[in-house]
């Protein structure tokens, strides 16, 4: 539940291939070898007398001496990694930073990760993770409350109820567990977890708290915070953001959700399952604007219309005041285009789900002449930071929500891995069109690549034909066995060469089904080849299988993918 729908696809989607090392900017690689040392040092300095409290900080105290020594030589480009404290410093221990750190250790880099708050970042503490816990509850509630559905199974369930605190605890327990897992996985590998707010002091130099360290390469992975438009007063009780909502401190009778993207949709699923009524406020002319139009139309029919939800589209919430003095939450709506006042709503609570804003203030970007754009740090397709003059800042990368390319936890992690690949001598450009996205409503929505309008626009420009294949969950045995035949899978592809341009799924476990398509896009697998692959029967994956088989491609299957005949 981490993303606003600002999916800015990089226009140059290079096919993934092992390209020769790009010499221009990537620093000459020198593979560090002191990985083990990193873990040992902790104990070595553990006894040093210091006024600092944590053992973690002891190291830093003592390392400072090294820093001053290193600083003098750090001016020389291509200095051996020995002259730096670390091969890689990552600012921000969210999912992006974590993914980068793990991969860096695997590649033999001496790695530090700086975290000013709690390990895990938004996703683990205030995003995807706790929201999945709430959605797991809402899914079950929905099922138990659906008498018709239960009856169709021959099941009898008497009135289903829930305990709010129990639900909230499930979410916070899950977040704690995942946070510990994340922390432990980094500790086990010997990543130094440094506590404090990190800032860039200069090239290859980072400050956190009162400490200064140097690193051969630096990754900014500071993530984002909920975006609250001006005029909206958040009090954390009746006017809330996803940060508060995930604690589930109350279940209001009537809650307005500002924004109908992933975050808003998922929360509408949670709240309506727990008995709230929901009003969506969407600035664009239709709900769920980021999705493929056909999918959002169907999703609206299933996720919005039959539920206790109404909506206002084409309006901004220009002013929201929290409930106080016995008055309800007041929401003033203005027309999104004319700015004329349109309506006033009085509700019990309002959830602001208008997307997320990059968390890049105080990062010391001015020290390296980097100018943010609406808070986002400009980067090229290799996540290299671009400064105010349009030049690349050497050895500095930015991944995840802070660069705004694709605000998804797994995208941040993939970007981090891509950066580590580059700094360890293997050029790598991440194909964002192969990164799947999912919305965990009931049923789920998932997608990868282009939507139909995007694909048609691209086809027009580049002069190729686009075809659409569709399959329904109604025809899938497993879905019918689950009494969940509602759903659609849709593939947009090139009939001439069998390239998959986009896949969109709405239906049971759609989020788990998308990866066959996203992997195919990432690996450049063509439909005529993948359609020969076999799927277990009966499984939901046959929905995607049917999709591949329904496509009409002119090119024959490639020789390598032809079934290899093996005597059994």
């Amino acid at each position: 539940m981490q993303s606003a729908l600002s999916l800015s696809f990089s226009p140059t989607s290079l096919p993934l291939a092992n390209r020769p090392l790009c010499s221009s900017n990537a620093a000459p690689s020198s593979t560090p070898r002191n990985l083990r040392f990193c873990g040992l040092r902790r104990e070595a300095f553990g006894f040093s007398p210091s006024k600092q409290l944590t053992s973690c900080l002891f190291q830093i105290q003592s390392r400072r001496i090294e820093v001053s020594a290193a600083a003098s030589s750090s001016a020389g480009n291509g200095a051996p990694s020995k002259s730096f404290d670390y091969d890689l410093i990552i600012i921000g221990a969210g999912v992006g930073g974590h993914g980068a750190a793990l991969h860096a250790v695997e590649k033999g880099l001496k790695t530090a990760i700086i975290e000013g708050d709690v390990v895990g970042g938004t996703c683990v503490n205030r995003g995807c993770v706790p929201s999945k816990a709430l959605l797991a509850v809402s899914g079950r509630m929905r099922e138990l409350q659906n008498e018709h559905h239960m009856k169709a199974f021959g099941l009898q369930v008497s009135a289903a109820g829930y305990d709010r605190q129990g639900v909230a605890d499930h979410a916070s327990n899950l977040a704690t567990k995942i946070r510990n897992n994340l922390t432990n996985s980094m500790k086990a590998l010997g990543v130094d977890i440094l506590t404090g707010f990190g800032a860039v002091l200069g090239p290859q130099k980072v400050k956190y708290g009162d400490n200064i360290i140097t690193g051969k390469d630096i990754i900014i992975a500071t993530g984002s915070v909920p975006f609250v438009p001006k005029g909206i007063e958040v009090d954390g009780k009746t006017v809330i953001t996803s940060d508060h909502a995930l604690k589930l401190e109350s279940v209001p009778d009537w809650i307005a959700i500002v924004g109908s993207g992933y975050i808003g949709l998922e929360f509408s699923d949670v709240y309506t399952a727990l008995g709230s009524e929901v009003t969506f406020i969407e600035a664009l002319d239709q709900l769920m604007p980021g999705f493929d139009p056909e999918i959002s139309k169907l999703a609206q029919r299933v996720l919005i219309n039959p539920r206790k939800i109404d909506y206002h589209t084409g309006v901004f919430a220009s002013k929201i005041t929290p409930a106080k003095d016995g008055k309800p939450v007041m929401i003033e709506l203005i027309d999104a285009k004319t700015k004329e006042p349109k309506d006033t709503l009085e509700v019990d609570a309002a959830l602001i789900a208008t997307g997320r804003a990059p968390f890049t203030n105080g990062l010391g970007l001015e020290n390296i002449n980097v100018v943010t754009q609406r808070g986002f740090i400009p980067v090229d397709e290799r996540m290299r930071v671009i400064d105010g003059n349009g030049k690349l800042v050497p050895h500095l990368y930015c991944i995840g929500d802070a660069n705004g390319k694709m605000m998804l936890a797994h995208a941040a992690s993939a970007q981090g891995i891509s950066v580590v690949e580059q700094v360890t001598g293997r050029d790598h450009v991440l194909n964002h069109l192969s990164i799947p996205a999912a919305c965990f409503t009931h049923p789920e929505i998932s997608m990868v690549g282009l939507t139909e309008p995007q694909a048609r626009e691209k086809a027009e420009k580049e002069g190729f034909k686009v075809s659409i294949a569709k399959t329904s969950f109604k025809a899938n045995t497993k879905a019918l066995a689950e009494n969940e035949g509602e759903g659609l899978a849709k593939m947009i592809y090139r009939p001439d060469n069998g390239e998959i341009l986009g896949v969109h799924i709405f239906g049971l476990h759609a989020a788990d089904l998308i990866h066959e398509a996203s992997n195919a896009i990432a690996l450049g697998t063509r439909i005529q080849d993948i359609k020969l692959a076999v799927h277990a029967h009966p499984t939901l994956s046959e929905v995607v299988d049917e999709l591949f088989k329904a496509a009409k491609v002119d090119s024959p299957a490639s020789v390598t993918a032809q079934s290899v005949k093996v005597a059994v």
Binding site: E147, Q156, W254, R301, V302, K308, T344
Partner: protein, 460 residues
């Protein structure tokens, strides 16, 4: 508007339901159009198991277009999805009977398909002749009553207009703006309830779903019991002569008809301590007293099939194959009799759920005919009003009806000479003596009493 009566008696004429009380837009009733071989109807298809009506999203073809078998003709929105509907025959789309945006029940004709171009005109004539909506005179006498009922119900112009607002939402600018929750708005649209002027019972006077439901239930009944209210309601001209409405006429006919049935009554006093204790124990599982009584009655009926029989022609009678207990429910002065089908076979928990569902449906006026006219035995309980005994008139077409009074603490002398207090209720069965004799009823009541006094079988 299923079976709204102001007496606890059931008419034998089966009144087909009409699920919505007023008609706007393009809602189309099933029409009977004489079918000629060469002009076919295109029906509203059932696109899902739960679909009862469909909305025409768009006509892919227009009138006069040639259709080939298998071609998409119309896009229909069901409760679940938009679906293309194909034609099964070649021909010409002669007449569209439900326009885009219109709603039609499953199975009703939405267009006519002519086999040749020449027949398009014929088909059009039929469509306009057969169409015309609700005020159209019905083609057969058999459904005269329901249509008349429809008219009757549609007649009060604002059947569901609410009482003037007394509590006004602070933000509603003195009632100028309507503050209603999303679900309330949805329900209001569905039940055709006007929100303006409605008094909300939600926080700060907000209109919530139950306000709308209350108005819908009250308003619907209002139409049916208007005459009864004449007596008490102020503002009605006292001493004026009010002609029967069609529905009242039907009730009147039925009551007179019931005089042709030789009925007799047998009463019994049943101790309910054990039943009360059981109820207390399983109440939390959603079990209702109504369901318990219906269950007990059904179990007793199973042992005495003759009491569950019916005599219609005076020459023969039928042992009904299933035990369907109809239960009279008073809703705002009216009466609805939903039927618990196979009450002897369904377990008490399902029966309770079914009962809740039926009552909800009844309030929303969405009972289907088989949900109110398949009763083989009727229960009428006025105990909740403190009535200790009464007798009921037998609904024609059934064998017996049982009037249930309140269960009250009574002083009881036991055979061993002691005096104690027990909860007791009186039941009084009215039966058709052509087929059910005194001994039958007596034995039935004895069985019933033993079941209620030792209710362990109710929860098997």
């Amino acid at each position: 508007m299923s079976r709204l009566l102001q007496t606890p008696f059931l008419p034998s004429v089966s009144l087909p339901t009409k699920t919505r009380s007023s008609v706007t837009g393009f809602r189309v009733k099933p029409r009977i159009i004489p079918i000629q071989a060469k002009i076919r109807e295109i029906f509203m298809p059932a696109l899902s198991s739960t679909m009862t009506e469909g909305k025409i999203v768009s006509w892919v073809k227009s009138e006069g277009d040639k259709l080939n078998k298998g071609e998409s003709v119309v896009v229909v929105e069901s409760d679940k999805a938009d679906m293309d509907v194909e034609t099964f025959y070649d021909g010409y789309l002669a007449a569209i009977m439900v326009e885009e945006g219109g709603v039609a029940p499953v199975g009703s004709a939405i267009a006519l398909l002519a086999e040749t171009e020449d027949e398009i005109a014929d088909a059009k004539a039929k469509a306009s002749g057969g169409g015309g909506g609700d005020s159209q005179a019905p083609p057969t006498a058999a459904i005269e009553a329901p249509v008349a009922v429809d008219k009757r119900i549609a007649a009060p112009p604002v059947a569901v207009k609410a009482v003037a607002a007394s509590a006004v939402h602070p933000a509603s600018e003195g009632g100028k703006r309507i503050v209603a929750s999303p679900y309330a708005k949805k329900l209001a649209k569905e039940l055709k309830v006007e929100l303006a002027g409605l008094v909300g019972s939600g926080p700060m006077g907000r209109i919530v779903a139950k306000d709308v439901e209350a108005v819908a239930a009250g308003g619907g009944v209002q139409a049916a019991v208007a005459v009864k209210e004449v007596v008490a309601a102020p503002g009605v001209e006292l001493g004026s002569v009010v002609p029967f409405t069609t529905m009242q006429g039907a009730v009147s006919r039925n009551m007179v008809e019931s005089l042709a049935v030789p009925t007799f009554r047998v009463g019994y006093t049943i101790t309910t301590d054990a039943l009360d204790a059981l109820y207390k124990k399983i109440k939390s599982k959603g079990v209702t007293m109504t369901a318990l009584l219906a269950k007990a009655t059904a179990l007793a009926l199973a042992k005495h099939p003759v009491v569950n029989s019916s005599c219609r022609d005076g020459n023969s009678f039928v042992y009904n194959s299933s035990i369907n207990v109809a239960v009279a429910v008073a809703i705002d002065g009216g009466l609805i009799t939903p039927v618990l089908q196979n009450a002897d076979k369904v377990d008490i928990y399902s029966l309770s759920r079914k009962w809740k569902e039926l009552v909800d449906k009844a309030r929303a006026k969405q009972l289907q005919p088989q949900e109110y006219n398949t009763g083989t035995f009727t229960l009428s309980n006025l105990g909740m009003f403190g009535v200790d005994r009464f007798d009921a008139i037998l609904p024609p077409g059934t064998g017996a009806i049982m009037a249930v009074g309140a269960s009250q603490p009574s002083v009881v002398a036991t055979k061993d000479g002691r005096i104690g207090m027990k909860n007791q209720m009186q039941v009084n069965v009215t039966a058709d003596h052509r087929v059910i004799y005194g001994a039958d009823l007596a034995q039935f009541l004895q069985t019933l009493a033993s079941i209620i006094e030792d209710p362990k079988d109710l929860t098997f």
